[in-house]
Symmetry: C2
Subunit: 109 residues, 2 copies
Amino acid sequence: MLEKTTRMNYLYDFYQSLLTPKQSSYMSLYYLDDFSLGEIAEEYGVSRQAVYDNIKRTEAMLEEYEEKLLLFHKFKERCKMIEHMKELLKTDSPHAEISELLEELEKLD
Amino acid sequence: MLEKTTRMNYLYDFYQSLLTPKQSSYMSLYYLDDFSLGEIAEEYGVSRQAVYDNIKRTEAMLEEYEEKLLLFHKFKERCKMIEHMKELLKTDSPHAEISELLEELEKLD
């Protein structure tokens, strides 16, 4: 569950601009502010089931966007390369290897 | 016009997975393969006006996606940083400056 929460937080971060304001509010309250479904339902004067359905649909949309655009996947790849370059910078002669990583980074877009 | 074509090529590249198959075909023929509106219309057995309207709507959609997700903008920023790092790697002591650029690169996502 924690892994799913982390993933949803990232996907929400990358794709929230593509959601409706209501989808965005429910996701933000549920995943970022840790509200329960019941609390969100009360806040909006709707049923718990309505909030649940909306959030499930939004989660599926975020996964679909990720399948199409791979922003989270590429972000993780870039982070790995950047970390690797930082490590290389601490060594004595990092030039050739960093150059290679920069080439890879360019191709990732 | 050339500048617009280049921009549309990039936006199409970044967001084509979000288009319908028809939108994608028209855009690809018009912008990548340099077909005229008339030629696309003939190919699909529709009016020139229908192709024109579809392409205009798709262009607007691509610009909307870019406004929301900024993938092309971030891509250009990353390219600039990577070029800068490549230049720095050719100099004698690039470490500190490259480290700074890597930090900036991380924040861009």
